[in-house]
Symmetry: D2
Subunit: 355 residues, 4 copies
């Protein structure tokens, strides 16, 4: 077997900490360390997790010393010791880091808050893994775009997709920051139609005919997408479900499961022993899905904190060239994270929470 | 001038109390009294409002006496003294009252919680006022259906409507009952697609090609509808806006107003001096509306407590035959309720809150 | 009768617009105009309300012209035409305006966001109206402090108050801004105990022995206070209720009213025809109140948007010297705003919503 | 070493599933199986978890067969194979099961929804472990009462407690059921003062002088308690903190951790790798705690889903007589669940999520 891929992580926030868990769960990867600038509880847990911490900036070095938090060095030290860096810093910060990575000739992966142009490649594993193989960098697209591309790609591969019109209900903020950036007892429509997710999906697959409208809703659990799809032809419902089942990252929910709302699906993730109660899959209500002639209607839930984690793992394998087959990378990632086989499969023995 | 229409009201709840205010604001109507079965604060205000109370049932007679609340008689007494009864009792209760009204040969109006078949006629003023004229009864359709029919009728009259696909975000419960029937930090999709609003719109206008999907959201202010419409042809945005402006009950909001979300629109209603901060109109974001070839996308807000109030007033005129022209009834209702001319028109001197 | 007091208003926000309504409802006051710097819906309604608008700053002059909104002049013009200015600008802005008012020798009233030292006098009508008579300025204390002082003053006057310890649940944000400054599915304790409301109450009455703890809660309707009071002696519950009844601005709620939660009380205000559904009174659950030996426990609701409005009206009469008796001013204000006699009294013929 | 304690679990809901995880994490216990009557997702995960399922009723047998869910038998089969049964069925159901347990001479443990009289003993490990040793049964008190007794016991042991007056903010519903039983944008005071938690604490320790008031708040994460305590004498703040530190199940939070609100503490639990993000400890804000002469004020967070789990484990050891020392049982439980040493200790190698 090859040497383990040495992965560095810049930014230990909502995505970064999940990438850390997931990297540790992969047989072919090693988490070298994490770089951050904070000094609060988020950073203080790293010692207990036995994850080396690197100070992200000169200011952070001083702040961490003052706070009595041990570090293994600075960002430069981390960068010098890894094959690839995953940048999970807040939106638009990563673009500023890119020259540092490029100067070192270091492979890097950005998240969906950055623009496509920064890397010139946008990534969803089932749609375009192969085009990222060996590149210097790619961008894992945002949670909403990832879900959109996963589902539309499944329909497209079955020859069913003509065009898709979606309404995206976006959770207003993440749970950890809901004490300072929430909305209350209201709905906040995005000022522009179409919203940016349609064009963003086209950075992954320019052939998708997709228009989205988006609205912020007062909950913190997950996004919820509603779609009206024009199919290429009339199709049976079972045919559509089969097309969706072809993706290991879409899970179909039956009414008999009693998963009526976002909160119950999230509780199921906790009950299933998933690390941080994370839902990596697009969770689609199968009995609710409706075919009406050439039209198709459905809704699914998107865990905005978790859905891009398996994609990020796959992106690591692609840019490092460790794997050239999307299918094999996806299978490896799925096995390590307990994805696949629906919601009631036996959990894989090597779940991230056991690490 | 004709004798005032003598209106009775059965059920003084979220809709009933607004109908009461609105009837009192009409020059051609008299509110004879209100029938209800409750004994709490909702009923205790009636005395201060100088609205006669009639006990809805024999049990209610005793309960009201025990609570020391004065009544003007029972439901039968009210029915004997009116030209028309508006039934605003809770969902499915009204159907049981219908035989009583029919036995007396009394004209009656039901609300959207009842089935179309109970009256055989479903009502939205701008769509089908004339077909209700002189009937024994009609049903004012629900808030979501009213908004759907208003907007699609406007597009249809301009020759633009081919078919419409909507996603309806429904407020989870009304403010007054939000301490006992809410949802928290979740979204609850309706189990079936299509949701019932599409077929319900067709009870008013069978020619509408409309499909809806619905989801309960954790707020109490209003519903929010998103639509993707296939037009009969490519059209200019201004042409679409003109089609919508033709309805006095659709109000267009510009970005410069700063009305970014449901809560700000509701605050504007309070600031405008509207009774109970009610929004009678469909409030549509004009700058957000997008035309893309033959496709049209837009979103609007629906105040579920208020939108059916002007329709109910018009329905009273229709079934009693007091008015045979929808346009004239609508104008009268609008003037009395301060509807029309956009959000920043001078309020009509005779608003319901002044009664 | 004396000439009407000419009142100017600087800041037409959540408090300012209510002060405007209330001033217009007083027989002895005239609202000369309103000064503000915004150009959005909040300002655009003024024309319909027939309230003259004055541009608050030079920048505002330009912005209002650009927006096509007519003004009657600038702040200086307003100040030159009034007997007293009520400053309702956002927290800490008012302190900067004070020199302008002082230079003109103009009487002024600040709100509770400013420090006591700015005026040297802090005002709650039932506690210290008389000490404000003829002063150049006073500060109407914040909503939480006003409620605290009203209730503790009532207990003190009955000789019952030894010391009071309160837990204050604060609504996280106001409804109109809940789309941008909310909290979601969490509680946010104030970092310091005691919270500032205890010392703030002592700026009105230094003899009060009061300690408060405060926490932000995810709702927008009202504050809720819980108190544990050490009395000077054992007392009967009825004696305590009588002490509270002595204030016209405390209203007692019985269980039979069915007012179980904040939202139902707010709905009652709408049902009662109160302008903006405002609750001016401290609304205290009478059946819940508990006397246990020398200890007293109770809870009440505070409408943070409305409770200081009657105090502000009284403060106008005090500083202008129009009235020297707190009792007479309070009675006049109460009559004009429909306060007094409990929740189910007949509304006063001259309510602000009728203006 | 002794034979492992064979534990059965009746009711696999919000508490039951956590008890299952925790029993599995104990070196001296074996989870024999779980009895329940549901057929939805909550039960369908058991197979993946390798936890035997027993049908709770005859109806459940049929429903489970119809749903294609395998069982290992009925409740009777489970009861016949265990040393002790933990009843976590919904409130007031357990009381009906007690005769079945007693008939078999089976040791049992109830949860706080049941009345004290059913078992005659109410349990909080640090307060009265020893009095439960060898009993036939005990009742682990509710989450609010557990937190109250833990903290007041700590103060009492330090000789500081005279009397305590608390305001309890109760999360309105649990996350998994928040789609059907929530409250929205309101606060719901409990109708009676004192609320039941004070007397309930006295079932554990009759000497506690404690009065509580309670209010339902619109969030699902945790309860929050505010206390005003009269101490026996003036004390230094550090002395109070030392008293609280003596309990391994109270954790002190410093401001520098940045744990400002309920949601951040919950996120920390996820970040710490805690199963289901559970907080077993009372989490108390140390810098916020205030001593003022003989008075003490403080606030802490109570994870209502998790706090009784370690107590339940200790109760198993007590009633089975496996352990006669509370200290030793508590230490064993804490080690297995990763409790102790504050929030940033290294996690114990044997956490429940690894099972």
């Amino acid at each position: 077997m090859d040497r383990s891929i040495r992965v560095g992580l810049n930014g230990y926030g909502v995505i970064g900490k999940r990438v850390a868990d997931a990297v540790k769960a992969q047989a072919d990867m090693t988490l070298v360390g994490v770089s951050d600038v904070s000094t609060d509880w988020r950073i203080r847990v790293l010692d207990g997790m036995r994850i080396p911490l690197f100070a992200g900036t000169a200011d952070a070095v001083r702040a961490l010393v003052d706070a009595g938090i041990e570090t293994a060095g600075g960002l430069e030290d981390l960068l010098g010791d890894v094959d690839v860096i995953v940048d999970c810093t807040p939106k638009h910060i990563a673009a500023g880091n890119v020259p540092i990575y490029r100067d070192r000739g270091l492979k890097f992966i950005l998240q969906g808050g950055e623009k496509h142009a920064v890397t010139g490649h946008s990534f969803v594993a089932e749609a375009n893994f192969e085009t990222a193989v060996g590149r210097d960098a790619t961008r894992v697209v945002s949670c909403n775009t990832t879900a959109t591309v996963r589902t539309l790609t499944a329909l497209k591969r079955a020859g069913l997709l003509l065009r898709a019109r979606g309404t995206l209900l976006r959770r207003a903020t993440d749970p950890w920051e809901s004490h300072q950036s929430g909305i209350m007892n209201t709905l906040v429509p995005e000022a522009e139609i179409p919203s940016h997710q349609g064009p963003d999906a086209q950075t992954v697959d320019p052939d998708l005919d997709v228009v989205t409208m988006a609205v912020k809703v007062p909950e913190t659990i997950a996004h919820l997408h509603y779609w009206a799809v024009q199919m290429t032809r009339a199709a049976k419902k079972e045919e559509v479900l089969d097309a969706l089942r072809a993706s290991s990252r879409i899970v179909l929910m039956k009414d008999e499961y009693g998963l009526e709302a976002l909160n119950t699906v999230k509780e199921l993730m906790a009950d299933s022993g998933r690390s941080r109660s994370d839902l990596y899959e697009v969770a689609l209500w199968a009995d609710m899905l409706k075919v009406q002639g050439e039209e198709l209607f459905y809704a699914y839930m998107v865990d905005n904190q978790a859905i891009v984690i398996p994609e990020t793992i796959d992106a690591i394998r692609a840019v490092t060239g460790r794997e050239v087959s999307g299918r094999r990378s996806i299978d490896a990632t799925d096995a390590a994270l307990g994805i696949g086989g629906g919601f009631f499969a036996k959990p894989h023995p090597r779940t991230p929470s056991a690490s």
